[in-house]
């Protein structure tokens, strides 16, 4: 633990502060005191810490700043604190609290370095640590990149341990018994004679002593909550209809808003006629907003109906009008030197090797994709002359605050963002167009709260999409082995676009997301090259569950599978032979063992495929078995193996891998977002169906713990899902499908 603590000390400090009737423990930024987000709870001058724990006479509150969009982040953060604090997390109040810069996510940028995740030498580790610095300076309170666990694993347990020891010290001073004679149990300090003093009774005293910061974290063997199956803290609410999502939020006197914005995203309104809408029942106001028109009514349905009744003439969109035109632009940059963005992998002599022997060449394609979480985008906003209050589910609360401050002209401190539980996101809530629309409408309705809910159609036609991409694969095989692997990927750059929206700043240099999930794979191929080409920015794009790896996982593994089969090698054995990372190799070996890879599948028309992708530091291997029935492909069985290091919550890990696999396969089966006349064509689930229950295979998940570093599991299940299905389809049918979604060429049952 000594080394861990040195690292921890360098990046953050935990301190304490008095609050009304109690004490708060949290992150203290030594060099840069940051205003405490607890607002009125803290006195002036006591604003140096950002709390993770509040204790007063009424109880214990755990503050969990990473947003919960369904991945279980609240429960996990609460459990990390509770493990060291020695409380039952189910007895505490769990809240995301108010956003604050000190809740920066150090880990979210850790993998934005020029080192693949399996490279853990001193230089790579040092550079990764430096990535905490920009995250801190940019005040990136972001939820994403499967980083909640890596970011909080030490930080949150430290907060809990410091709070526990400080409470013990308060008890020591009160009783005259030395701190090392005291124990803790379930929210109380335990005296040697068995007497208990509740934390809540020690809170005031604890606020008046120096926090005890010289603490050791408990060894894994002493964990009570971590590493064991436990119930998610939000489960009962979510199974009884009592969880309050952003869309359920309600204020007295609130009005309901609907918008119709230009489906040519970013373009304006030429003219509109709202004569009919204005007379409809319940309609209070129709007003122009940025790129669209808003209706305010007394009920969501009435607002939507009136919005539909407005006759709007749109300006043409600011990008090519159709998908065909968009992909032409992407294809034009592929392998064009002047559009090369980066080449982070170039081993051996690819140019020479490609001339040696028979050349294999193929082109691959993945579509643009909407996020389409079940809860459509929504926000409730109350603007007054003094302040702007926002209730919304978001992964970027501080950016929402800053953007709303700019729009309203209010001071940032007077914009309050209350993060609500989210009915999914998959990355859509890394954007805030809908929130800013609600702010704009609320500015015209000062003193009255406005709830804006996007209709499903508005949601799916105004998304920031997973970028479409095109790839060219080339390779050669020699003596039954893959000798040359050369992959070029072309797509629009995602990060500069997003940072531009978030921070109004341009990010120079290459955009690694163009090849993430392809350049950084743990294989040793004699001649191995991955190159990214940057297409112009066209339709708006953003992060989608597993980001760059979502498409690149398909490109990389499908090309690898094709080359291995061309070499007449066994798909699993050859991947294992090529693998240069022990942790990854064991994942591949395990999936072989689980799936009985070496035994033939029983029954006619069956096939299986294996795929592998290392993303977010998690090596993930999937074997998929399918049957080619007369009516189409049936997915029979999926085996998935991951390695996240220590597994903190085996039940939720399995759920996240189920979710990742299904998300990856569902979109690969039948989803795409295409454009015609500037507008997204798939505006509801009938045209963007995903997987239905009857199509879901039996899925078996195993998590290994050979990895040294602890990792998050929200995303890594996604990238290998599509290629494992494609490889299985090939095995069963002989048909190699190189373009997603697969259902353009084959049916599913």
């Amino acid at each position: 633990m000594g080394r861990l603590r040195t690292i921890t000390r360098r990046t953050f400090l935990i301190g304490s502060a008095a609050i009304v009737g109690g004490v708060a423990f949290g992150t203290y930024m030594a060099k840069r005191p940051i205003k405490n987000p607890l607002l009125s709870d803290l006195e002036e001058g006591e604003a140096a810490i950002t709390p993770h724990i509040k204790i007063d006479a009424t109880g214990i509150t755990l503050i969990t700043p990473r947003a919960d969009k369904g991945q279980g982040a609240y429960s996990m953060q609460a459990r990390l604190i509770a493990e060291e604090l020695d409380i039952d997390p189910a007895t505490a109040t769990i809240t995301p609290g108010m956003p604050g810069p000190a809740y920066y996510n150090g880990a979210v940028m850790e993998e934005s370095t020029p080192f693949p995740a399996y490279e853990q030498g001193a230089l790579a580790e040092t550079v990764r640590k430096f990535m905490h610095v920009p995250a801190k300076l940019l005040a990136m309170q972001i939820t994403g990149g499967s980083s909640t666990v890596p970011d909080g694993f030490v930080k949150l347990r430290m907060a809990g341990a410091i709070a526990r020891e400080t409470l013990k010290e308060a008890a020591a001073q009160q009783t005259g018994i030395a701190r090392d004679q005291l124990n803790t149990e379930n929210g109380a300090v335990l005296l040697p004679d068995g007497q208990r003093i509740a934390y809540t009774d020690l809170a005031t005293a604890a606020a008046n002593i120096e926090p005890v910061t010289d603490v050791d974290l408990r060894p894994k063997s002493a964990w009570k909550f971590l590493g064991k199956p436990t119930q998610r803290l939000d489960m009962s609410a979510k199974c009884t209809g009592t969880e309050q999502y952003g869309i359920d939020f309600k204020l007295e006197g609130m009005v309901h808003a609907a918008v119709r914005a230009n489906p040519g995203i970013g373009a304006g309104v030429e003219s509109y006629d709202a004569t009919e809408a204005e007379t409809m029942r319940g309609v209070q106001k129709v007003l122009p907003i940025n790129n669209g028109v808003a209706v305010i009514a007394d009920n969501t349905w009435r607002a939507w109906r009136a919005a539909e009744a407005i006759d709007i003439k749109w300006e043409p969109g600011p990008y090519p009008a159709s998908t065909a035109n968009i992909f032409t632009q992407i294809e034009n940059v592929l392998d064009a030197d002047e559009h090369r963005d980066h080449r982070q992998r170039d081993e051996g002599d690819v140019e020479k090797a490609l001339k040696n022997g028979e050349l294999f060449e193929a082109t691959y394609k993945v579509p643009y994709l909407a996020h389409a979480p079940m809860e459509p985008m929504n926000a409730t906003v109350l603007v007054t002359d003094e302040q702007c209050e926002i209730w919304t589910g978001t992964q970027i609360p501080l950016f929402v605050r800053d953007h709303a401050a700019k729009l309203t002209g209010l001071d940032k401190d007077n914009v309050l963002v209350y993060v609500q539980p989210m009915g999914g996101s998959f990355g859509h809530k890394l954007e805030d167009t809908h929130v800013l629309q609600a702010v704009e409408i609320a500015m015209a309705m000062k003193g009255t709260a406005v709830k804006l809910v996007w209709s499903r159609e508005e949601d799916m036609t105004h998304d920031y999409l997973r970028p479409g991409a095109v790839a060219k694969g080339r390779g050669t095989v020699i003596d039954g082995k893959v000798a040359t692997f050369d992959l070029s990927v072309a797509q629009s750059a995602l990060l500069p676009d997003w940072f531009g929206r978030l921070m109004d700043m341009s990010i120079p240099g290459p955009d690694a997301t163009i090849t993430t999930g392809a350049w950084d794979q743990p294989f040793a191929i004699p001649n191995y090259r991955v190159t990214g080409y940057r297409a112009p920015t066209m339709v708006p794009i953003s992060s989608w569950r597993s980001v760059g790896a979502s498409g690149n996982g398909f490109f990389h593994d499908t090309l690898l599978d094709e080359l291995i089969l061309k070499a007449s090698a066994d798909p699993l054995a050859e991947r294992i032979r090529l693998c240069l990372d022990d942790t990854s190799r064991k994942v591949l070996e395990k999936v072989g063992e689980m799936s009985n890879w070496d035994s033939p599948l029983m029954g006619p028309n069956k096939g299986r495929g294996v795929a592998f992708c290392l993303s977010f530091g998690v090596p993930t291997a999937i074997v998929t078995e399918v049957t080619n029935t007369e009516a189409g492909i049936k997915i029979d069985k999926v085996y998935a193996v991951v390695d996240v290091g220590d597994v903190l919550d085996p039940v939720n890990l399995e759920a996240q891998v189920f979710g990742g696999v299904i998300f990856g396969m569902a979109h690969a089966m039948n989803c795409e977002t295409t454009f015609e006349n500037y507008a997204a064509q798939q505006n509801n689930y009938h045209a963007f169906e995903g997987m239905r229950l009857y199509q879901v295979p039996d899925i078996e998940v195993v998590a290994l713990s050979n990895a040294q570093k602890i990792r998050g599991i929200g995303e890594p299940g996604v990238p290998p899902a599509a290629p494992s299905l494609g490889n299985a389809i090939f095995a069963a049918t002989g048909q190699r499908i190189r373009e997603l979604p697969f259902n353009k060429q084959i049916n599913f049952v």
């Binding site: 199974c239 009592t242 189920f658 229950l693």
Partner: protein, 158 residues
């Protein structure tokens, strides 16, 4: 303009509402009565997040005009069970830790409860047929299947 006063029964309570008869039941429940367990997901009966029971049967409340309700009795997830007094389907859902984002689960649970009330011991195919109109984007399906089966077992035992 058509305005209609009507009385509707939801979770054994009678409410007086004054809305257009064509207003979907979902929006009467959510915006007029403040019953937010049923969720809006698609508005076109493609996702099932709005599923409620009408006279005991699963119905998409986004497609049912409130004026067509007549004297039928509506029950929502709030009427099925509460955190302190769970319905057997909710019990199974919690035991299997089904929910992720949870947004579709009110509808999934109402659909499953409706299935089991008419068919307490459904086959795999019957579960597939009954539950495939309810969309889940998080990918909780494997646990939904397991929870439906385990609720069925509980019903057999009782």
């Amino acid at each position: 303009m058509k305005v209609s006063h009507m009385e509707i029964t939801v979770n054994d309570q009678t409410y007086s509402v004054d809305v257009e008869p064509e207003m979907p039941l979902l929006w009467v429940l959510r915006d007029e009565l403040g019953i937010t367990g049923p969720k809006y997901g698609c508005g076109i009966a493609q996702c099932g997040a709005c599923t409620v029971h009408v006279n005991g049967y699963a119905v998409r409340s986004c497609q049912l005009a409130v004026g067509d309700l007549g004297s039928s009795k509506v029950s929502t997830i709030e009427g099925l069970g509460t955190p302190d007094s769970l319905h057997v389907v909710q019990e199974s859902w919690i035991e299997h830790q089904v929910a992720q984002c949870g947004y579709c689960q009110s509808g999934q649970i109402m659909q499953a409860a409706s299935l089991l009330s008419t068919n307490p011991n459904p086959s795999d195919d019957q579960i597939d047929a009954a539950m495939s109109g309810n969309l889940c984007r998080c990918g909780t399906y494997p646990r939904i299947k397991a929870a439906v089966k385990s609720a069925a077992k509980k019903l057999q035992g009782s």
